[in-house]
């Protein structure tokens, strides 16, 4: 589904701030994979997502999505196929527009000059009702009035309204309180499973990194240092993961927000 071959990215090349954020990284994501990604601060996790989504042009290498070379494709063109959620709950939605308008924007149905159709409104209502958060009765309210958790749920709904070929979740529950985070995570899991989405999720929660999905990446120094799946993964505990990290990187995992349980 997603194939990265030898991609590299260096920020501020030739200056004192030079930072090799991704270094000769190759990976192959299979259709239907749900990959969790862990790693230290500055390991290149978000940079990897930015490269895939097209926030910048990589210095070298190729990116293919579903057999199509997207290396040079503009970000907004890629995003028709790639859904994305961020840690900052304000990024995913337009606060001054209503829930309904936000959803319509991402559904992207009908001609450019057509208003939101009745059928779409009904569909949005049903989708919101499924969340059981009472949002279906607030469709005419601006998203700016919602809580961070509610906004993130709307953003999740927006990025999965049309089935994306790839869903990128960049610590999308990290800014939420534990109870809300759990709820959003459960919702994410059910949407991904139900729709059989191909998904990559960065997390700082070691336990959900092992519990969710079918495959786990560990990143360090701009590359993937561990890629486990299947039986080998199901036998792993959080401690094993930390040991493994020390072995491959030579130091302790130093993500200051890491959660062990």
């Amino acid at each position: 589904m997603l194939k990265l071959t030898h991609i590299s990215k260096t920020f501020n090349p030739g200056t004192v701030n030079e930072k090799r954020a991704i270094s000769d990284l190759s990976l192959h994501v299979n259709k239907g994979d749900f990959i969790t990604i862990i790693g230290s601060n500055g390991a290149g996790k978000s940079t990897l997502f930015n490269a895939i989504a097209g926030s910048f042009l990589t210095d070298s290498g190729r990116i293919e999505l579903d057999g199509q070379d997207i290396t040079l494709m503009a970000e907004h063109v890629r995003s028709r196929q790639i859904g994305r959620l961020f840690q900052d709950t304000r990024v995913g939605t337009a606060p001054g527009m209503t829930i309904e308008e936000n959803l319509a924007l991402s559904a992207g149905r009908g001609g450019w000059l057509s208003p939101i159709s009745k059928a779409d409104k009904k569909l949005f209502r049903e989708k919101l009702a499924e969340l059981q958060m009472g949002l279906e009765d607030r469709m005419k309210q601006p998203v700016g009035l919602l809580s961070g958790g509610q906004r993130q749920v709307i953003a999740l709904l927006m990025s999965t309204l049309t089935t994306p070929k790839l869903l990128l979740l960049d610590e999308h529950t990290a800014a939420l309180d534990p109870a809300t985070a759990e709820k959003v995570l459960a919702l994410t899991e059910s949407i991904v499973n139900e729709r059989k989405l191909t998904c990559m999720m960065i997390t700082h929660n070691m336990e959900s990194a092992l519990k969710l999905g079918n495959r786990t990446f560990m990143m360090e120094n701009g590359n993937i240092v561990l890629d486990v799946a299947g039986e080998k993964r199901s036998g792993l505990t959080v401690d094993d993961l930390l040991d493994e990290f020390r072995k491959v990187s030579g130091h302790r995992l130093d993500n200051d927000r890491i959660l062990l349980s």
């Binding site: 926030s55 907004h76 995003s79």
Partner: protein
């Protein structure tokens, strides 16, 4: 002041306010929706007046309307092209185009003054049609109301279409638009083209209404329109798009009315621009200063020794 002079005062304020309201609607689109402060408004207003004036003088008052809107659109295209494709800051792009338009406008007009006293305009046409009806003396208002209504209806419908939503999102959350499938370049270009078409229309109507075009006809328009927009926001700021668009029109009228009344009380006409600047300053600085108030209060409390430790 007798009833008749009050009514004629009101009518003048209404006419000028509503003509100006088209520029306010233009800023409603660019400033409130797209979050771009388009400083080419003054030049574009004059461009609309100049092009509209020249075409009307050549005997095509209705074509003049479309020509003025087209010219405004072209000006908007240049401004948006500079900021989206040439990497020029949006404020600077507006100022640059505004400066360039001064030369363009004189070139269009052939001099710095156009006299349209004997020219047929959309207003004189309407005056002919309404002769003998009860609206005989309101012919100007009728024409202006038609255009303003069309503009408000257009914006209210357009801003709810998929393209309109995309334009609003571009101004509302650039970070989201960057990672969504909206192309901010396209939405900015379309938004500014439409917005400047309205400004051009506004200039054209003023030219045809007052039967003359002066090269300075648009000077200070951006501040006057912004002041009107912010007055409108104060009334209808938190409502649906339709309400806010109507609010922009009401703001334009209120601004004109206050200005007309002030003139009655012997405020010199040259004060218009100072007053509009002060209104813009108050409207924008007000909320900021209010947010600073608690800090000032605490500082004062501490100084007087009454603050908690």
């Amino acid at each position: 002041m007798d009833f008749n002079s009050v009514m004629s005062l009101l009518q003048t304020a209404l006419e000028l306010g509503l003509i100006g309201s088209l520029t306010v609607l233009s800023l409603f689109l660019s400033y409130s929706m797209l979050n771009v402060c388009d400083l080419s408004t003054d030049g574009c207003f004059t461009l609309g007046a100049a092009v509209g004036g020249v075409v009307a003088i050549s005997g095509h008052p209705i074509l003049a309307i479309f020509a003025a809107m087209g010219a405004g659109m072209l000006s908007g295209l240049v401004v948006s092209f500079l900021q989206t494709k040439m990497g020029i800051d949006s404020l600077l792009a507006g100022i640059i185009v505004n400066t360039a338009l001064y030369s363009v406008n004189i070139a269009v007009m052939g001099s710095s003054l156009l006299n349209m006293n004997k020219t047929e305009t959309v207003f004189t046409m309407m005056q002919g049609w309404l002769k003998g009806t009860f609206l005989e003396n309101q012919y100007k208002l009728v024409v202006i109301l038609i255009f303003v209504t069309l503009a408000v209806v257009f914006l209210a419908v357009f801003l709810r279409t998929r393209l309109g939503l995309a334009i609003r999102a571009t101004g509302d959350n650039p970070a989201m638009v960057k990672s969504s499938s909206i192309n901010p370049v396209i939405t900015t270009i379309i938004g500014l083209c439409l917005s400047n078409a309205l400004t051009g229309l506004s200039g054209c109507l003023l030219a045809q209404s007052q039967k003359s075009v002066n090269i300075d006809i648009g000077s200070g328009m951006v501040t006057i329109a912004l002041a009107s927009l912010l007055i409108g926001n104060a009334f209808f700021g938190r409502g649906s798009i339709t309400k806010r668009a109507i609010g922009a029109v009401v703001g334009a009228f209120v601004f004109r009315l206050v200005y007309t009344i002030a003139l009655r009380f012997n405020m010199p006409a040259f004060m218009l621009k100072l007053v509009s600047s002060v209104i813009v300053i108050i409207a924008i600085a007000g909320p900021y200063l209010r947010s600073r108030l608690p800090i000032l209060q605490r500082k004062l409390q501490l100084k007087s020794g009454k603050g908690d430790k």
